[in-house]
């Protein structure tokens, strides 16, 4: 699925990712965790080709992503901040993305699920933060791509929508897809994810199941385990 080798990225003098290796082979839900500014979004954007790495190789589905753009058809992406062109209406935005991707989509079901019908002909600039995030979710889940990348999908959602989101993620898992998620909400992570990838100081600090993480840190819940892993670097 995703092979990352020797990835390095600096912004000016700020080394965000250094010699990072990561292989994601199996289907399942992978949670990419780490403190604020640890480079989760940068890692994701490198895979999408939005951030250009200084060094290293990335392959998606067996093909290097350098000088390639077609592979993005296999990826659905939910950006951390739902920044949409404000002068478009919701249905215009959805129609435009469908037109650009030319893949089968089932936005109707998702629009119903998140009760977005009343907002379809509103301009995106007039929507509330949570409603924008729902549109963001619809756009990420409406295509049937084998790889989903969700950067903080829970931001601003009300409890009912959060439940829908979790169900959607489980659905993807049952369809044998690979889902990458970043989140700071450990309860959510514990509920949906199979594997934890922990980023710290520009590198993968831990990769394994939640159980492995708990055993390793001697903690009984994920939140404390994550807190412990960050404090005691000597335990690796």
């Amino acid at each position: 699925m995703i092979h990352i080798e020797n990835l390095q990225k600096k912004f000016g003098k700020n080394i965000v990712l250094s010699d990072l290796d990561l292989i994601i082979e199996k289907p399942g839900v992978f949670a990419i965790l780490g403190p604020n500014g640890s480079g989760k979004t940068t890692l994701i954007k490198s895979v999408l080709g939005m951030v250009v790495p200084d060094k290293g190789n990335i392959s998606v589905m067996g093909k290097p992503i350098k000088k390639n753009f077609k592979y993005r058809k296999k990826i659905d992406y939910l950006p951390q901040i739902a920044n949409f062109p404000g002068n478009l209406k919701v249905y215009e935005l959805i129609r435009m993305i469908k037109d650009l991707r030319q893949s089968p989509s089932d936005e109707e079901r998702l629009i119903q699920l998140f009760k977005l019908e009343p907002f379809l002909d509103k301009k995106l600039s007039t929507l509330s933060g949570g409603t924008k995030q729902k549109v963001n979710i619809v756009m990420a889940f409406m295509f049937n791509s084998p790889l989903l990348i969700l950067d903080e999908p829970t931001t601003g959602l009300d409890p009912a929508s959060l439940i829908h989101l979790k169900n959607l993620i489980r659905e993807q898992k049952e369809m044998n897809k690979t889902v990458l998620i970043t989140s700071h909400i450990m309860q959510f992570v514990a509920e949906v994810s199979d594997i934890i990838v922990y980023l710290l100081e520009g590198n993968i600090y831990f990769k394994g199941s939640i159980e492995e993480l708990k055993t390793k840190t001697g903690q009984t819940d994920l939140e404390h385990a994550i807190a412990a892993i960050a404090i005691e670097p000597a335990h690796v």
Binding site: F11, L48, M50, V52, F69, K73, L100
Partner: protein, 260 residues
């Protein structure tokens, strides 16, 4: 790329400013024709307006569009679309809609006035062609400035400075150097200086085609000898193309390395 072009183009066509720009030229065309009652004279006045205004409007439109479509660009970057297509599509959308406003806005009054029956048709076409080139050139220069400057205020400032330099300061420096070095032969210098500024180049091209002795004296003769010939026209068009293609190439090149 054509899909992106289409979306940018529609987006702009729907915006109020495109209409304002179009109506401005429409009005200008009618007023000049009524005041002058002469197609050739109207063309000269128009030239003076176009030479200054087209670069200014293109620069400002270009820079504003680039910054305002940041979200659109970011959305597209995650889609299966080539980077160069994203930026070229947006650029051609902006430059295309501006050119359309110019050509239609001026074309309609002149055609209604009986352009096709007058012998000024070639001069008028040349005016529109240089206007289109100036639009293409200054829009892509503005896109380049915006791409290299995250800070909108700075980018906007540089863009306005660029216009000011090309439209006003360049001529001042040019004239000053002509006065200071007047004891030396300056033919090739002034020819070169004119060729390297698309605004001056366009102005000279039109003036000499219109056969007005606005450029008096010896230099005028040299210019006439150069620009009046087919070879001169050819070199001028080549330079305008060069001024368009080089910044487009830089736009594609720099955008490939940028992080979003």
């Amino acid at each position: 790329m054509f899909k992106i072009l289409k979306y940018s183009f529609y987006d702009l066509i729907r915006s109020r400013w495109s209409y304002v720009y179009f109506l401005f030229y429409l009005l200008l065309g009618f007023v000049l024709l009524f005041l002058n009652n002469d197609v050739s004279k109207a063309i000269i006045t128009l030239m003076n307006v176009i030479i200054i205004l087209v670069p200014l409007i293109s620069t400002i439109f270009g820079i504003m569009y680039f910054y305002n479509s940041k979200e659109f660009t970011e959305l597209l970057l995650a889609q299966p679309v080539k980077r160069s297509s994203i930026f070229l599509g947006q650029y051609l959308g902006v430059a295309g809609s501006l050119t359309l406003s110019l050509v239609l806005g001026l074309g309609i009054p002149f055609v209604l006035y009986g352009l096709f029956k007058s012998d000024a048709i070639f001069d008028f076409s040349l005016l529109l062609v240089t206007g289109a080139f100036l639009t293409l050139i200054f829009t892509v220069l503005a896109f380049n400035i915006a791409l290299s400057n995250e800070n909108k205020i700075k980018g906007f400032g540089y863009a306005v400075l660029l216009w000011l330099f090309m439209a006003v300061i360049y001529d001042g420096l040019f004239l000053m150097s002509l006065i200071i070095f007047k004891q030396y032969p300056l033919d090739s210098f002034s020819l070169g200086a004119t060729i390297f500024n698309p605004i001056d180049l366009s102005r000279t091209l039109i003036l000499l085609k219109l056969d007005i002795s606005a450029l008096l004296g010896y230099t005028g003769a040299v210019f006439k000898k150069f620009f009046g010939t087919d070879q001169g026209l050819f070199v001028s068009i080549f330079m305008l193309i060069f001024w368009t293609v080089l910044p487009i190439w830089r736009l594609v090149f720099v955008s490939r390395k940028k992080d979003f």
